[in-house]
Subunit: 276 residues, 4 copies
């Protein structure tokens, strides 16, 4: 096995010959999490102050590590039978979506070496978060959730529509009832919406709430409706997950059933019934 | 095909010959959403100030657009086989519920041209929100949710009754325990109910909460009971949606079963078993 | 039919010869709701002040109405075959639980005529709330919910135990971390529990929350754990309701299956297969 | 039966010859709950002050009671057939996990006799909470919940990952939008995370919330996303519990089916079909 073949096996998730994730990819995943954690902590002045040197070194370290990783991934693309082989395969890999996200995330690391703390660079730094999307590759459960969400997208969309309608109705009513009493919080429908969304989602910051008796009655009804808004998507998702589990079980049972039938057919000739 | 036939196909949702929603109805739906969004923004003085002219023009635009739409819908009603034909069909359409809602919503648009910012006109403006009800026509998922809610209406009603009982008990207890300590928040059962509903729905504005140790113990129990109140309707709805999905699957399986049986019957004559 | 028989049919829920609830019982139910509503409003001084006479008259009215109802129920008990007949049956009814609750609720109405606004009488007034328990008789959905809750009582109890453990752990940790910084809110485990219960149930009044970084991290973990605490009972109840629905469906299918088999058996003799 | 045999039956849960929990173990469980309750109350100065003597006596009482219990458990270990017998069995019991937890909890009781109110001893006191873990032995429903959680660990982990991603995205966005307006609450991503976690879990303390229009729009979307975060684990757990119930039912039906088949086979010989 050549070095490139070894690297391909270790870096390309689908090429790993054992179950699970290769040690190399595990380390890379850990590095990504660490890089995002550092990026988050860097925004906090009380953490950075006094450790500027440390954070600078961490930046250099991550920039180096991810540069090597990116280069390696381009290099091994030639091993990927899907891409053909040679430099053409490498180019094909380089223009694939995960490779582009990697490159953008990588470039932001280098950009911070030159840049000051401008708002624009802050935006670029945040792209690092998308590095985490690669971790998603490792998990098939995420796909299962995505599939469940997707299979019920119309119902979930409809419950979002109902939520929108309730948001409009409650904020309009509170605007009419409390608008003149508390113009700051309920003086317009958009202002009342801020209260309404905090109530319907049961967040309840407490910065805005009705003070008139009728407003409080309406707020109470809104809060109870909020329970319904939580119940609807939860119920839809519960049903979707339940359905997914049952399909899987039935598929398993079908397979077992067929195996048993086959064994029974063989068993008859041999004059005995095999036990399950 | 006459112009009226073309308009009928494009405006009447059931008459559209392709799947989905006709482009004309898509545009109308977008206009309705835009009209409601503008109506909401108009209540916010900081948005309107300096753009009075723009909002005036938008009002004129929406009034014109929806007038044309309404006239077109009346005109094409003659094509609707359900209504018979001719002016009689148009009259029948004009007195149908969606047509009346459209007309009221439309008239409020014209009323705002003459009216000042009176509270009464505000009320009329809100009728525009019902324009959104027409969007409901486009979604069959809303019906599925409505059906699920309807099939479990007794259980949902019963959980609302339980919620009402808990509201009464917790607000009565807190009124007794905290009434003399915090007369503003717990000085009467209706006042304690405001706290109770915010706690049972887990909204928790934080404007009212007990301060005595016993009051806090009762509030804690109320909050935990609130979890149960969320769990009940959610569980009921989850079961309803789960049941709906399973019924659909069984219906599909039944259909497939019958198709297979038929194919098997044919296959026997032909001396081979078709694979599924 | 004697008057007593007529009254028995109309008052005793099980004796009503048509489906649903008799008109007389409907009126009584409405009166009970009204009496509770009046009792609640009477605790609010701003509502009572200026309408003392009206509330006094309502009290007299409800006292009279419920006295008549109680007398009638005792009178008709003689018709109840379960109780035998005559005065013995009336006595048996009078010592049954619903009759005793009715009598206590009734007596509190009379007690308020003599009493001042003492705390003790307030307590008695609250017994009126239990009048609502009679409304429960009318609903079979409440029983279904009660059955679902009962069938999963161990799992629900276990999730309450887990909630208690999390409450202890989170309040102990926050007491250690924030105890010295905010002695008012976290100075002891019972104090920290008030915060912990508000967070775990996602109520979040906002009167107490950690201020130290480590305290905030722990609070965040507690809040996420709170989601799990909502998810557990909801999931358990959803499964219980789902199971109840499926049992009912299977019972229906079994019945239909048997009917079909019977019809098939008959159909064979008659030389034709009846369609389903 | 010797005294040791009697003690073994009463103390060792698995050795109890009747269903449920032995009276001795019930009393011990009650003592554990009482000891934890006392430990919690001891941290509250307003409760302890004036009752120092009482709490001291309670400490002595619990220390004595649990010492006797521990000694008894070591003594009876010789009866346990799993451990062999004699002092060797006692040693084996003493190094088992529950025995070690008991010993640590016990030692903290003695340590408090010598110690002042140091922060370190506080930590030790909290170990008493783990005494409650023994109560877990009594409940099989806890195992069922644990099993359900375990069977869906990947999906639950994936929904936690999604929660983490949403936390990162929303706190990053709010940091960018509100960072310069409210540096105290949104001046860094970690600070914005405190707001974000309170919103996503719908706790909503109300100590931090956006004030700019765009920030409020983002907060509204975050709050709605929070509903989804509650819906996901709830749906997953509901499906897991539903699946567990159904498996159990099918197992029961299978058993009944087999019993029926057996009875049918016997019934044929006897010339009659037994009824179910």
């Amino acid at each position: 096995m050549t070095w490139r073949q070894w690297a391909y096996r270790n870096l390309h998730t689908a090429a790993w010959h054992k179950t699970g994730v290769s040690p190399v990819n595990r380390i890379i995943a850990l590095l990504i999490v660490a890089a995002v954690a550092v990026a988050i902590l860097e925004t906090e002045p009380t953490v950075v102050s006094g450790h500027e040197r440390l954070f600078r070194w961490l930046e250099v370290f991550f920039a180096t590590a991810f540069s090597i990783e990116y280069a390696a991934r381009v290099w091994i693309a030639a091993e990927n039978p899907e891409f053909g082989g040679g430099w053409r395969a490498r180019l094909r890999y380089a223009v694939s979506l995960p490779a582009i996200i990697d490159l953008i995330a990588l470039s932001t690391l280098f950009l911070t070496f030159f840049g000051s703390e401008g708002a624009f660079l802050r935006l670029f730094r945040l792209v690092r978060i998308f590095l985490l999307a690669r971790l998603g590759r490792y998990s098939s459960a995420l796909k299962a959730i995505g599939h469940a969400l997707n299979s019920r997208r119309y119902e979930l969309g409809a419950s979002l529509t109902i939520a929108g309608m309730l948001l409009l109705i409650s904020s309009s009513l509170l605007f009419m009832v409390e608008g003149s009493v508390q113009p700051d919080s309920f003086g317009s429908i958009p202002r009342a919406m801020w209260w309404s969304i905090a109530t319907l989602t049961t967040v309840g910051y407490g910065d805005a709430f009705p003070v008139t008796p009728f407003g409080k009655v309406l707020a109470g009804i809104t809060a109870i409706t909020g329970i319904g808004l939580i119940a609807m998507p939860t119920g839809i998702l519960a049903a979707a997950f339940s359905d997914a589990i049952q399909r899987q079980r039935e598929a398993n049972e079908d397979r077992r059933e067929k195996t048993r039938e086959k064994r029974t057919a063989i068993g008859e000739d041999e004059g005995h019934q095999p036990e399950d």
